[in-house]
Amino acid sequence: MIELKNVSIVFNQGTVNENRALTDINFKVKEGDFITIIGSNGAGKSTLFNTIAGTYLPTEGSILVNGRNVTRDPEYKRAKYIGRIFQNPLLGTAGNMSLEDNMTITHKKGMKWLKRSLTAKTREFFRSELVQLRMGLEHRMKENLVMFSGGQRQALTLLMMVLSKPALILLDEHTAALDPKNAEIVLELTDKFITEYHLTAMMITHNMSHAIQYGNRLLMMDKGEIIFDVEGEEKKALTVEKLIEKFHELRHKSFENDRTLLSED
C-alpha cells in the first residue's frame, strides 16, 4: 500500500551540522498491517513518520501510495488518507472550541465550505460514537476542550481520526505524555479500533513489551536505519530478552545505554 524506496533524509546538507537522519530506507506497508516501531532516541522513528506524512521531503528516494508517487505532495494533501496522532495530546484538537465543533471539523477529511454539517442528526451520530470511549464525553458535547484532560483529548483525537477513515494511521508515541492509567485506556482503544475497523497502522513506542504485545509486525530502528523487521509467528514468539539480544547481535554493542530509554514493562 505504502512503499518507501531508497529514502534518505539529510538535514543541513553540506554544512558542518550535516545530520543523516534516515539512510536508504526501503520498506513496504501492506494493507491491514499493524506495525510497532522501537528504537532509541535519535534512531529516526519520528523522522520516518514525518517523511511518510509529508512534513519533511526526502533528500533522496521516493514514496509510493498504491503505486502512485507522492514524494512531492505537501503534508495537507497526504493528510487526506493519512491519519496522525502526536505525542502532545493538544495537537489533535482545538482547545477553545467545543467538543461538537471539533468533531464537525474532523470527522471528515478535506476542504470545508459554507455547508453547516452540525445538525441534530450528526450530533446524534457523534454522541453514539463517543459512547465507545466510555468516558462520559457524550454528555459534554458543548464544553470547550480546554476543560478536558490530556487522556480524554487523545482518546477523542483517536476516535475522530478513525471516523475519518484514513488508509494509514501513524501513532507517534501517542500515549507517552499521559499518566499510566490513561495511557493504558488509550492504548486499549487504539488496539480495539485498529482491529474493529481493519485499519493499517504504524505505532512508535518506547515500551518494548507493548511493541511485542500489539500488532503483527515489528520494526527496530537505529541510527536512521531499519535494522530488524519481523512479522507473523516469528514476531509472536518475541520476548523483551530476545529483542535486546537481537539488537546486540545486529549492532555488536550493548543495549545497556538504551535501557533507560526503552522501558521493559
Binding site: Y76, L90, T106, K109, L118
Partner: protein, 300 residues
C-alpha cells in the same frame, strides 16, 4: 451628541469586527487594516463621483478590501514573509495605490453627491426624527453584518478557520491547506474594514489617504475593551457583540477627548498618546485578570 457617539462607534464597529477576525479568530496580526480602511473610502468616493449606485460602490469597496487582504496573505504564504511584515508591506503599498485611485489627490470631497446615507435620510425623513435616522440605519447595518459573520463562523468553513487560529496542525491533519484558509480569513477581515472605510467616507463627506492612520490600534483597543466588558465566552455571537460594544465604548472615549479634552488642556494630537496608554492599561489589566493570553502575539 449621544447619537453622534453611537454612529461613530457603529461605523468603526464594522472595522473592529474585521480586526477581531484577524487578530482573535485567525491569530494573524494583520496590519493591512491601516491601508484597507482608506482604500474602502477611496473606492467608495470615486465610484460615487462616477455616478455609480451607492450599494454597488459599497460592493466595490468590499471587493477592494478582500483583494488587499488576500495580497497580504499571499505575501505571507508564498514568499514566507512573517505575517506582521506582510501586512506592513501591503499597507505601505496601499498608500500609493489609494492616492492613485483618488486621481493623484490625497483628499477627495463628496459634497452634494448622492450617497447611501443621503438616500436613507431622504427616505426616512418624517418617519423617524431626523437626528436618529443615521443611528437607526447604522445600528441595523452593524447588526446585520454581525449576524452574517456569526452565521459564517457556524458553517464548516468558519469553524475550520476558528480551529486554524487555535491549532494549525489540526487543520493540516484534516487535509485542508492552511494557506487557502488564511487567504479567505484575512481577505474577509479586510473586506469588512474597507466597508467600514466606505461608510466613514460618506459620513465624513470625504475620502482622505490619512484616514486609516492608527486604525489598527483603535481596532485592537476596541476588541480588548469588548473582551473586558463580558466574561470569557466561546459563543461567536457573544464575541462579535463584544467587539461592537467595545468599539462604541472606545469611540465614545475618543469623542469626549476630542470635544471636551480642552477642559484638561488636551489637544486632538494627544489622542494617539491616550490610545496607546489605554491599550497598555488594558493589557496589564487583562494579564491581572488572566482570562486571556497576551493578545499581540507575533507570528510563529
Amino acid at each position: 451628541m449621544i447619537e453622534g457617539i453611537l454612529v461613530e462607534g457603529l461605523i468603526y464597529g464594522i472595522m473592529v469586527l474585521g480586526v477581531f477576525i484577524s487578530f482573535r479568530i485567525l491569530d494573524f496580526p494583520d496590519l493591512t487594516v491601516d491601508g484597507s480602511f482608506p482604500l474602502g473610502a477611496a473606492l467608495m468616493v470615486m465610484c460615487l463621483l462616477s455616478g455609480m449606485n451607492g450599494w454597488l460602490a459599497l460592493l466595490v469597496a468590499f471587493a477592494g478590501g478582500v483583494l488587499a487582504g488576500s495580497l497580504t496573505a499571499l505575501i505571507h504564504n508564498h514568499l514566507r514573509v512573517p505575517n506582521l511584515l506582510a501586512g506592513i508591506l501591503t499597507m505601505t503599498m496601499l498608500y500609493s495605490i489609494n492616492i492613485r485611485i483618488m486621481g493623484d489627490r490625497a483628499n477627495v470631497p463628496i459634497l452634494n453627491q448622492e450617497t447611501i446615507l443621503s438616500k436613507v435620510t431622504e427616505t426616512f425623513t418624517g418617519i423617524i426624527p431626523d437626528e436618529y435616522i443615521l443611528l437607526v440605519f447604522f445600528t441595523v447595518m452593524a447588526l446585520a453584518i454581525k449576524l452574517l459573520i456569526d452565521l459564517f463562523f457556524r458553517t464548516d468553513l468558519g469553524m475550520t478557520l476558528g480551529a486554524m487560529g487555535n491549532n494549525e496542525q489540526m487543520v493540516i491533519s484534516q487535509g485542508v491547506n492552511p494557506k487557502t484558509l488564511k487567504t479567505i480569513g484575512v481577505g474577509l477581515s479586510n473586506g469588512l474594514v474597507a466597508v467600514s472605510g466606505a461608510f466613514a467616507a460618506q459620513y465624513l463627506g470625504f475620502a482622505d489617504v490619512g484616514l486609516g492612520q492608527g486604525i489598527i490600534v483603535s481596532g485592537l483597543a476596541s476588541v480588548m475593551i469588548g473582551e473586558f466588558l463580558v466574561l470569557k465566552s466561546n459563543r461567536i455571537g457573544v464575541l462579535t457583540l463584544c467587539a461592537l460594544l467595545g468599539s462604541i465604548c472606545f469611540y465614545a472615549v475618543m469623542y469626549l477627548g476630542r470635544y471636551y479634552g480642552y477642559l484638561v488642556h488636551m489637544t486632538p494630537s494627544d489622542l494617539n498618546l491616550i490610545k496607546g496608554v489605554l491599550i497598555i492599561i488594558l493589557l496589564v489589566l487583562t494579564q491581572v485578570r488572566k482570562f486571556k493570553k497576551v493578545p499581540f502575539k507575533v507570528s510563529k
